[in-house]
Structure formats: C-alpha cells, structure tokens
C-alpha cells in the first residue's frame, strides 16, 4: 500500500495579514507560513493506516521556506519518504495547472491512496484534490474523518452538517480530502526531528512550468468592511470583567 500525502504551507492566520502594493495579493514579506491544519490530519491518518496495515507513506510539499522542517517533522511522526517539489510557486497560482503538474509527478510514485487536506484557506480556485483525482482517473471523496483499508477498497466516514456521517466505500486507487484524522495529530519531540535531519534525505522533483491561464484573476483584495464592529470593552482583565458583569445583568442572564 503506497500512500501519498501532498502538503501545503499556508499563512498563519493568528498573525496580522496585510495586502501588498498591487492591492491584489497578500504581502508575503511578513507572512509566517505553517502547515495547513487539515494536512496535519492527513499525515496523521496516513501514519495510522501505516500502523494498521503496513503502508509506505510519502509526504510531498512545495519547495519554499520552511519545507525541510515540515518534512522532517513528518518523518519523525512516521513518514517513510520525503519529497519537495521545485517550481515557481510565487507567480503561479493556478490550481488547474498546478494540479496537472502534480498529477504527473504523483502518477510516477504509483499511489494506491492519496490523502490531501480537505481545503487550504488561501486560494480562490481550490479543489486541488478533486482535480488531481480527475487527471489520474481516480474517485474523490472529501470531508473525511476516518479511513479503513479493506482489500481493494477503503471504508470512509464522510461528514455532513450537524454531525451526520455517511459511511462510504471507495475502490482503490482513490484520493480522499481529509477533514480530521481518527486521532489528533501526534506530538513528536524536537530531538526526534533533529535525528531525522541527520538520517533521512529529502528527494527533489521538478514541477512542469505552470501557465497561468484559466485561473481567476483577482481585481482587489481587502479586509472585510463591517458596518457594526463590536463595542470594545477594556483590555484590562479586571475592568473588562466588571463591564461583562454589567452586560450580563442588562441582558438578564445574571
């Protein structure tokens, strides 16, 4: 069983985001990039399957700053093979082209199962997973929070609103969009990651040139304009607590 997990670095949303001089993109100068949280779950799900069935897990990501740390951390959690993709990711933001280029490379890795995150929060055309599945002729199901391998198929838990689950069976090879692993992503000690840096190597593959045709063109980006922002209370905890007590009284819940 050959499991491939494509992983994306995305801006950390806890940090301040600003828009660059063109007005159409995020200012990358100050962005702190972290692993897309759903990809963290996808790696975890892959490792859980490896522990249950003895699969080989390959994690691949684009070669931008932070990628080595990300890949070695994945290895410390149990990934067997690490790949970074060389390409022009700054000017390319076309998921049609990116998916096609990635599909070509992934095909050579002979995947039985591809696990992506259910979505990344920073692109406008999205749907990398479904696109790759289409180019590789595989079925795709997303919003997955549980996977079991059973011979030539997987049994998955697909989430619907309100906590409803659809149990589906999907024949392999297949691509799944992971929302949550069956267990929270495991923690690994830094010492173990350091050890991986010494013992594991990262392979490099070149992506085909990405043309930008077919991607939505952003006219402008802006922070949400709101008419009714919150009335801000004190930033001092003691004072804010007093204000909240009064508000609760006014609202009749205290």
């Amino acid at each position: 069983m050959n499991i491939i997990v494509p992983v994306k670095l995305v801006p950390d949303l806890v940090e301040e985001l600003s828009i660059d001089a063109s007005g159409t993109a995020l200012d990358t100068a100050w962005l702190r990039m972290i692993i897309n949280e759903f990809d963290d779950h996808a790696i975890e799900q892959a490792i859980l399957l490896k522990e249950k069935t003895g699969a080989q897990v390959t994690v691949l990501s684009m070669n931008i700053e932070g990628v080595d740390d990300l890949l070695f951390a994945a290895a410390a959690r149990g990934a067997d093979r690490l790949i970074k993709l060389n390409g022009d990711f700054v000017n390319a933001s076309n998921n049609h082209a990116l998916a096609r280029a990635m599909a070509t490379l992934i095909q050579d890795l002979k995947p039985d199962l591809i696990l992506t995150g259910v979505q990344a929060h920073n692109d406008l055309d999205g749907s990398i997973g479904p696109r790759i599945s289409n180019y590789l002729g595989m079925p795709y199901v997303g919003y997955i929070s549980g996977v079991n391998i059973s011979d030539d198929k997987v049994i998955v838990r697909k989430e619907y609103p309100g906590g409803l689950i659809g149990e589906m069976q999907v024949s392999l090879p297949a691509l799944l969009g992971i929302q949550a692993a069956e267990q929270p992503p495991r923690y690994v000690a830094i010492s173990k990651v350091r050890q991986m840096m010494k013992t594991m190597s990262i392979e490099e593959l070149d992506l085909a040139t990405l043309d930008s045709m077919g991607a939505p063109v952003v006219n402008r980006m802006f922070q949400p304009e709101t008419t009714e922002r919150a009335t801000m209370l004190s930033e001092n905890a003691e004072d804010a607590a007093n204000q909240l007590v009064n508000i609760f009284k006014e609202l009749g819940v205290l």
Partner: protein
C-alpha cells in the same frame, strides 16, 4: 452558450439544505446582470416535490435510483452531462460536503474556471470571496466562458431563495451511471448527549486559544457559576478535549442562544455561520483583528487566562 444561471440544489435525507436557497438568491443577482433565467438542477429519486418552494424560473429534474443519496461520482457525471449540453453562463454549488465534492472534478473534466468561497455578488457581477479564515476578501470578475462557483453562507438569507409559487419542473434524461467506484453504505447518526446546545440560552464557547485540555475547566467553572453550557470550536473537539455533541459550526450544531460568549475563538467562517442567530455575541480574543469582532456586539482583547477566572470570581460573589 446562453446567459442562464444554474444552481446545483443540495438536499440531504429528504430535506433541501439552506445553502440551496442561498444559492438561488445569489443566482437571481447574477441573472439580473446577465439577463438570463435562474434554473435549479435537482437530482434524486422520486424527489420532484423538493422543487416545490424553490425560487427559480425553471427546474431541471434528473431522476435515478443511484441519485437517491448524494454520491460524488454520480453527481459529477450527471452534472457534467447537463452543463455540457446546456452551456449556462454560470453554475453555483454549495461550498459544502456535497458541493465541493462535485465541482472540482467538473472543473477539471470540462476545463472550466472555478471561483470558490464566494459570499456576495456585487454590481456588474463582481464576485466577492471570503478567504484566509474570514480575514481577507478577494474580488474577481465572473470568469468566461462558463463560471463554476462555490458559495458560502452569510451574504443572502435562505428566505430570499424560497417562493410560494412552484416553479415549472422539466424531467431530463440521466446519463448511464453504472460502474460507480463510490457507494454509500449507510448513515451514522450524530452522537446523542445530555445537552442539546442548539436549545441552550447561554453558551460559553471555547476555541484553540484555550491551549490544552486542563484549561477547559476555566470555561466549565464560568459556565457553572453563571448557569450556562460549554461548547467549542472544531480544533477543541478534534483534539478530543470536548465531545462532538458540543461542536458549534458548519460540521456541528447551529446555535441561537440569548448570549454566546466566544473565548479564544478567531471567528472563522465555518464557525461563524452557525452562531449568527445568537441574540448577543461577546468575544474575548487577544487579536484585535480577529474576525469574531466583526459579528460580536461586545469584545475585549484582554487575555482569557486573566479575564475568565476574574469573571468567574465576580459572578460567584454576586450569586453568593
């Protein structure tokens, strides 16, 4: 090629989802600009009656036993056939478990542009998408030739997409659907629990800002003091710190309490869509740019680890 706006209607176990009505409302905005009709695409088995209150000029209905429940592959194939034949100006999908499973493959298969997470349609058919967890909005034009769009809630009310007059329904032939590689085995009902957060009047909600399982007790003590119930955002539930029955959001419950106190929650769209029915939202978050402050009535950037215990103390003193 025509100027019509198609809407891929979503329904689950015999009920049309709110996002379908929201899409119909948005489709009317688009159609007004293009001069086309609003056409609802309904897929199902003996499901014509679901068309009854759709605010559409026309419904195209595909009936097939393999369309009884949502199946990504069956939906893709059916819709690819319809889009290829009718060539509408745009097709709307929900940014949901059903819509996003369907639209990506269609975009790849037909080579059509996709704009996702669209919240509103503005003058001249400018599409406004919500990205980066609600912190950034992006505007783009309606792409050519056939625009595929996924819609998030928040920009339109479901009532705008409902009508008291039934639209005309036209049955259309369905493609051959054999050889599906995806099958629905069964539905698994949500866990039942002691409390139903959708009915509680006072909710103390905790998010990732709470940092670890031990700290959940801070929220529990506050809830106990004031007489409320603890609920959570997705990361807290995914970590196993609270059960799924306490999850608020797109994949959990929709809530409408008198007071919703959000502690260490950023206000991502998937969380916010389920709390806008609250009478009053109050947010505690150290990030003054957190989107939660855009929908809260009151907010403070005080640190939750200082504020929550102080608040609990004061309430205990008052209640004696």
């Amino acid at each position: 090629m025509n100027q019509d706006i198609f809407v891929a209607v979503e329904h689950l176990r015999g009920k049309v989802s709110d996002i379908s009505y929201i899409m119909l409302a948005a489709a009317h905005d688009l159609a007004q600009n293009t001069g086309g009709k609003v056409v609802a695409l309904l897929l199902g088995l003996n499901a014509q009656q679901l068309a009854g209150n759709l605010n559409a000029d026309q419904v195209l209905y595909a009936d097939h036993s393999l369309l009884t429940d949502f199946n990504p592959e069956a939906y893709q194939r059916t819709l690819i056939g319809i889009i290829d034949e009718y060539k509408p100006r745009a097709v709307l999908f929900g940014h949901t478990s059903i819509g996003t499973d369907t639209v990506g493959c269609i975009s790849a298969q037909l080579g059509l542009p996709l704009v996702s997470s669209v919240r509103t349609i503005e003058a001249n058919n400018k599409l406004i998408s919500q990205i980066c967890g609600g912190k950034i909005m992006a505007e783009c034009n309606l792409p050519e030739p056939i625009a595929l769009i996924t819609l998030v809630p928040g920009g339109y009310k479901p009532e705008q997409g409902q009508s008291t007059q039934s639209p005309p329904v036209t049955a259309i032939p369905v493609q051959v659907l054999d050889g599906l590689r995806i099958l629905l085995n069964k539905y698994i009902e949500p866990e039942t629990s002691d409390v139903d957060i959708s009915k509680e009047p006072l909710l103390i909600a905790v998010g990732r800002g709470i940092q670890n399982q031990d700290n959940i007790s801070l929220a529990e003590e506050l809830a106990q003091a004031i007489g409320g119930v603890v609920c959570a955002s997705r990361p807290v539930v995914d970590q196993g710190w609270l059960p799924t029955s306490r999850l608020v959001g797109k994949s959990g419950s929709t809530v409408k309490p008198k007071v919703y106190l959000a502690i260490g929650i950023s206000g991502a769209p998937e969380h916010v869509e389920a709390i806008t029915g609250s009478d009053v939202i109050i947010a505690i978050n150290t990030d003054s740019a957190a989107p939660i402050f855009n929908i809260a009535k009151y907010g403070t950037t005080a640190d939750l680890f200082d504020l929550v215990p102080a608040l609990t103390e004061k309430i205990k003193n008052i209640k004696g």
